[in-house]
Symmetry: C2
Subunit: 546 residues, 2 copies
């Protein structure tokens, strides 16, 4: 029996394009002799559909799409993920399910039991967990089909009390298939390989695993579908951040003609780079926009975003706006222009002095001669926000936000100023990783100008300002932030690791008092296991930690 | 036996104040002869603690607070809600639980089985559902204690497959106690009374129910704790939007000395008014701020917010900023000043012309003579945003957002302009309800100036602009929005009700294309069953509905 894995990029709720893509790949697989094509979790509607699932019409459209796909399954079978209605009176109205379609008909429905409801996941908001499990018989082969998380409960501190494969194995299946929508983070590919290999070994069965690929607003799926033998050896690994269809021969209880491979672990920063480029590209492609705008300061953050955007959209579709103020250093414009010239994107220079001066005069009576402070600094940042949004509104460009994770964390940014944008490109990338990203982007030729990389970071909102005036060095800052944000360690636990107490308390207080700012920031492309946004839900007026 | 219900206003993660408040009310109840005091769900830490629950230190602090409370339970028992650790290896690490404390010790732990995970609720993100149920014995009385949602599964389309009271009733309890954190919406008090009465009748037991009161950022708890006899008659109803302690005598299987009462249903608009005033007050009190700032346009939305803020904070703590532009009508400033005079708040007049003109000149080369459009309209709104944020930054005022639900819905507002603010006061109040709110506020004396109420709504961003130029009348608009937002009806279902097809499709498209704007708006005080914010999670680049 020939089994094809279709690793595809879906668009949430775009039934027309998803269905067509699935049918095209059924036909492509058929030409390659496949008997069965396996598509990902919730492939019919894309993942995560969120509250679209609360519209009955939406689930009806999923069912209609599945029927349309079924009509193309005359000489080929398929497994396809979609939400299906719960016909029982009690319990939630839907299951996260998969159809096994053969000879034009739905022959079996597999339901997901373990519903991830942590970080960016909200599956128990919509779905009833499955409690019964049944293998699928196809051409004399018994298949144990599971959906994503259903294979992820085998560690020593299991999150769920149930384990679907422990039930399915009693029916003596010959092969495991798992369909997934498993989002990227820079450490997730390694975890995934371990968990899947552990399943193959534990149940002593070959395993075929297919993942989604592509970005859905802030969540990026990386693909990297995998095939294992019954000893947990990797027999094949599909590409990352790309669509792919591959066909495997299964006979006599094993995958034929494949030898164990040694997988090559891509460096984290290369994965992050590719995820961000795909994240930008899919945000634009799927929302029907072509052109981006961003403020280019001469600093490293906006330079990186500009370079990534040019790779995703083409330099001709990226408008960089240089907005010097009276506090901009001489080299800032030069550094920004060097990038524009290196990269070939479109640019405008719009000085903000006149607007900032107008506000200073307008506010003078109300400000009653109080000294220059944060208020005036923020006016400048917000004038820049108005300029780039004006370019966006006039020309239909989409504004890219250039805040990095370190500054998002400590609130080192102006709400409605540099925190504007439709999508946060590097808001999940710490400043120390930003430098690694610059080195990676520059690996073959200089794209990010050297001076941009080597000069001390500054917001340039008052004379001679440097990030290091109010923040510790980024190396220390990022380590403390990682302990607090990614690992959810309390300040006392972080201090116990040897960090200076006053510093830890000051940083964590900064993070918590900036919670209200992050509530209003754009969605941020998620590349770490814990990004700001939907995956991190903190009280705004809570007292603990603040 | 005397049972006290303590309906209190907690502060999330403020262990010091919550613990002190609980101990104070234990002592108050003791003076009134109580044997047992019942506090609400998650009283120790406040509700919803969200991802604070992922910090081990946080749950340790909850336990420490409970032990401190227990030390004060020598001659009095209490029931108190808190998260407790799951000591089993498998399953989530916490339970949403209650301690029954007697003679200074935790004598019983009751765990919640039904975990709400819809709308604003995310309980399955943190908690393992209970699967075993045990009544509590206290002074010879068997008490069936449940936590909030555990009594809410008795309708004809139950959301859960389990029903905790069906298990507890087998142990022959004499009384039911339910501790809750049940948030306000203008229709929730009626639902609550029905569900609780149905439980009393179904199990033929008296029922004591205690709710939280107070606002936690966007979520407002309304109190309204209730006492029922075994026939489902209401014996007592505690006040709404206020703290309260009441003591009841329970003997011979029933509550003594109480007769069934006829509850008086407050009009929706009065409840909304009280919820919004409490929402503002608690936002400021719990974040430690005193003074608010808002832009006052002369229109009805900002007038309402100003009036509510004055009631919550005192007029001396409310700074209204009047920001006329060249498109402001003659009467706008007058209407705004009439309100200021009626209400006695602080005010400033800061014209935005100079800043708007500066931007027009600055943008002219880039705009290349293109005609006036949305870009220039938004510049004005954003100049106002800069002015009010400058007042906020200079003086530490907190900016109140004045967008109503109708305009939030259709995207009739400028991101980083009039959509700025720390908290959205009326973002869950439709425009048609805004007029009802004005009438309610004006019921005794004119607060909102008559001309503000009667003039046609306008954003005044271009000459002679009226809302009705681009929107249908608000009566029709709000009805369509309600079907789509509150009831999750698809456009085809709404059209089938007789609304004009083109209009419905246009409005729903407006709602969906504004999703990216709402993602970046402030938290909105929730007064309806479906508010924008955490309770409504829609894909941003999804295709369905857009």
């Amino acid at each position: 029996m020939k089994i094809a894995l279709a690793q595809l990029n879906y668009h949430i709720g775009n039934f027309e394009s998803n269905t067509q893509k699935i049918i095209d790949h059924l036909q492509l697989a058929k030409k390659q002799g496949a008997d069965l094509v396996v598509f990902a979790e919730l492939a019919v509607c894309g993942y995560p559909p969120r509250d679209f699932l609360e519209f009955e019409e939406f689930t009806d459209l999923c069912e209609a799409a599945a029927q349309q796909i079924a009509a193309h399954c005359q000489d080929i079978a398929c497994i396809i993920g979609l939400p299906v209605k719960n016909t029982q009176v009690a319990g939630k109205d839907l299951y996260n399910a998969a159809y096994f379609i053969e000879a034009g008909k739905v022959k079996a429905v597999t339901k997901k039991a373990l519903l991830p409801n942590y970080d960016v996941f909200d599956e128990y908001r919509y779905f009833e967990p499955a409690t019964t499990f049944e293998c699928i018989d196809f051409k004399g082969v018994k298949i144990a089909l599971t959906i994503c998380e259903d294979l992820w409960n085998i560690n020593t501190n299991p999150l769920y009390v149930a384990n679907p494969m422990d039930e399915l194995i009693k029916q003596n299946p010959e092969v495991m298939i798992n369909i997934a929508a498993s989002p990227f983070s820079y450490c997730h590919d390694e975890e995934r390989v371990v968990v899947l290999a552990d399943n193959a070994k534990k149940y002593n069965l070959p395993l075929l695993y297919v993942n989604q690929v592509g970005a859905q607003t802030e969540i990026v799926f990386d693909g990297g579908s995998l095939v294992f033998d019954a000893d947990g050896n990797i027999l094949d690994e599909m590409p990352y951040f790309k669509e792919e269809l591959r066909v495997y021969e299964f006979a006599d209880g094993q995958l034929q003609g494949l030898q164990p491979i040694q997988r090559v672990q891509e460096p984290d920063i290369a994965q992050i780079h590719d995820a961000l480029v795909l994240g930008i590209k899919d945000y634009f492609d799927k929302s029907g926009f072509k052109q981006a705008v961003l403020g280019l300061s001469g600093g490293i953050d906006s330079a990186i975003v500009c370079a990534l955007a040019c790779r995703a959209l083409g330099p001709e579709n990226v408008m960089a706006v240089l907005m010097p103020s009276k506090y901009s250093s001489d080299h800032s414009i030069q550094d920004a222009m060097d990038l524009v010239n290196n990269i070939g994107c479109v640019h405008e220079v719009i000085a903000i002095k006149d607007a900032a001066d107008a506000f200073d005069s307008m506010m003078a009576p109300a400000f009653k001669g109080l000294p220059f402070n944060l208020a005036e600094e923020n006016i400048q940042a917000r004038c820049r926000g108005i300029v780039v949004m004006a370019m966006s509104n006039k020309f239909g460009y989409i504004l890219l936000n250039t805040s990095n994770k370190s500054e998002c964390a400590v609130g080192y940014g102006t709400l409605y100023g540099d925190m504007c944008g439709a999508i946060g490109v590097i808001g999940d990338v710490y400043k120390t990783q930003i430098y690694q990203l610059a080195a990676y982007i520059n690996k073959d030729t200089e794209v990010i100008p050297e001076n941009t990389v080597v000069k001390p970071p500054s917001a340039e909102l008052r004379p001679g300002q440097k990030d290091s005036d109010s923040l510790p060095d980024y190396d220390t800052l990022d380590k403390i932030l990682y302990q607090y944000i990614e690992l959810r360690k309390s300040s006392s636990a972080i201090i116990a690791q040897g960090y200076e107490e006053a510093l830890v308390r000051r940083i964590i207080k900064m993070v918590n008092t900036a919670e209200f700012k992050r509530y209003q920031t754009p969605p941020i492309l998620r590349v770490s296991p814990k990004a700001f946004g939907m995956g991190r839900r903190m009280p705004l007026v809570g007292k603990y930690l603040s």
